[in-house]
Subunit: 244 residues, 2 copies
């Protein structure tokens, strides 16, 4: 008999063989991991608690003992786990020039997107059956953390509204690009998307710098760290006309 | 007695005075207009059918005769009406340089956002009680229409994946900027946001042109239409370093 996380009726003896006894925390993590795997491969409306139980080698009542709120609760727990994992990727200490650091964060992000695939897509696309004010709040937390970490990487203590809008907008572009990438069966190479997004950051910062001294200062600082003649900025200048 | 849109029990005699008899189509449009006004001022969960009935000077049963599915059906009808109105704004024939045209479309867009305020915000933010796969599909239709119209304005017949991603991304930036604008009590002047978004388009196109010959061609064409030395592009070049 598995230990119960809360006072509950004894778990019925499993009818099928192969059920494994796991400690409470380990079982909970296993159920969430199994759920994340299922939500990654199918839209949430096609994943049932029975599927999770079967894939976890557990009974349906056991899953309910851990997640009394059923599928919705399990979904939200899984989402929270995935959100924490993603946020932790933003916190990595990185070396290299600003664009090398941004590239590394984006590689981690696309690896996360690839791993969570259908679940990521359903959640961000909106209108999913499992979407609630709570799931939206979890997603917003991740966006806020991405904003906070990006500003910190840029060395900004207090961002004004224009710089905040720039970073938020760029994060929205990253999300949109990752959704398009999944939609199109991952046809574009990740390395190209990543480089495109790094260039977008520079370009969007430049457009914002025209309207905001704080962003102009941050951009100048970033370009200085890229080296004496930042190649990406040079190429952007060239494509805007008049040679480089 | 008001004409009924479908076989239904006779409308109960209104208890309050001031009820007006309206033709079917006109009544339907009035209920939708009233609903849009209410959804613009409060989150959808705080708007009830009784509020709509009262504001329309109609009885609750009358509202149900037009919208048998209750609030959700009324909400979706209102959303469809708003979506059609927004899409029609993209279809306007415009004159001037590309950036003047883009500015005019953006002015129309921000006027729409200002008018629909809370309803616009709740819908795009996700997790609203009235959000369903159907409402998400309506929003996606508008985005698709915005994409189609933008590509047409740019003179593009068949957009490759990179050019499509650019325009989609820019549309996401416009949406995000309008949400931030509402969030912050419309603190930033619309004219500044509009100019920022026009500059973003040029900058994002430049970043995409580095990775895509089709976008490079479109950007060159747009810049040529702006004049012999497009001022906005010059300023972007300057802020990217090395003087203009």
């Amino acid at each position: 008999m598995e230990a119960s996380p809360a006072p509950a009726a004894p778990e019925p003896r499993p009818r099928r063989t192969g059920y494994r006894r796991l400690p409470v925390q380990q079982r909970r993590e296993q159920l969430i991991a199994v759920a994340l795997e299922l939500f990654a491969s199918r839209p949430p409306e096609e994943v049932g608690l029975d599927d999770v139980a079967e894939a976890a080698g557990a009974s349906r009542p056991l899953v309910y003992r851990y997640f009394a709120g059923g599928k919705q609760q399990l979904y939200e727990a899984a989402l929270r786990t995935a959100a924490d994992e993603l946020s932790s990727r933003f916190a990595l200490r990185l070396s290299g020039t600003p664009s090398e650091q941004l590239s590394a964060v984006l590689d981690g992000y696309f690896a996360f997107v690839a791993e969570h695939d259908a679940g990521y897509s359903a959640l961000l696309r909106g209108g999913s059956v499992v979407e609630t004010a709570r799931t939206s709040a979890i997603v917003d937390d991740v966006r806020r953390e991405a904003l906070r970490r990006t500003l910190r990487h840029l060395g900004v203590r207090e961002a004004g509204p224009r710089l905040t809008l720039l970073v938020r907008s760029w994060i929205a572009v990253v999300e949109g690009a990752s959704l398009s990438w999944l939609d199109e069966g991952r046809a574009l190479p990740v390395s190209e998307l990543r480089d495109w997004l790094v260039d977008q950051f520079t370009a969007m910062a430049a457009a914002t710098a025209l309207h905001d001294p704080q962003t102009a200062e941050v951009l100048a600082g970033v370009l200085a760290l890229e080296g004496p003649r930042p190649e990406r900025a040079e190429r952007l200048r060239a494509v805007l006309g008049g040679g480089s």
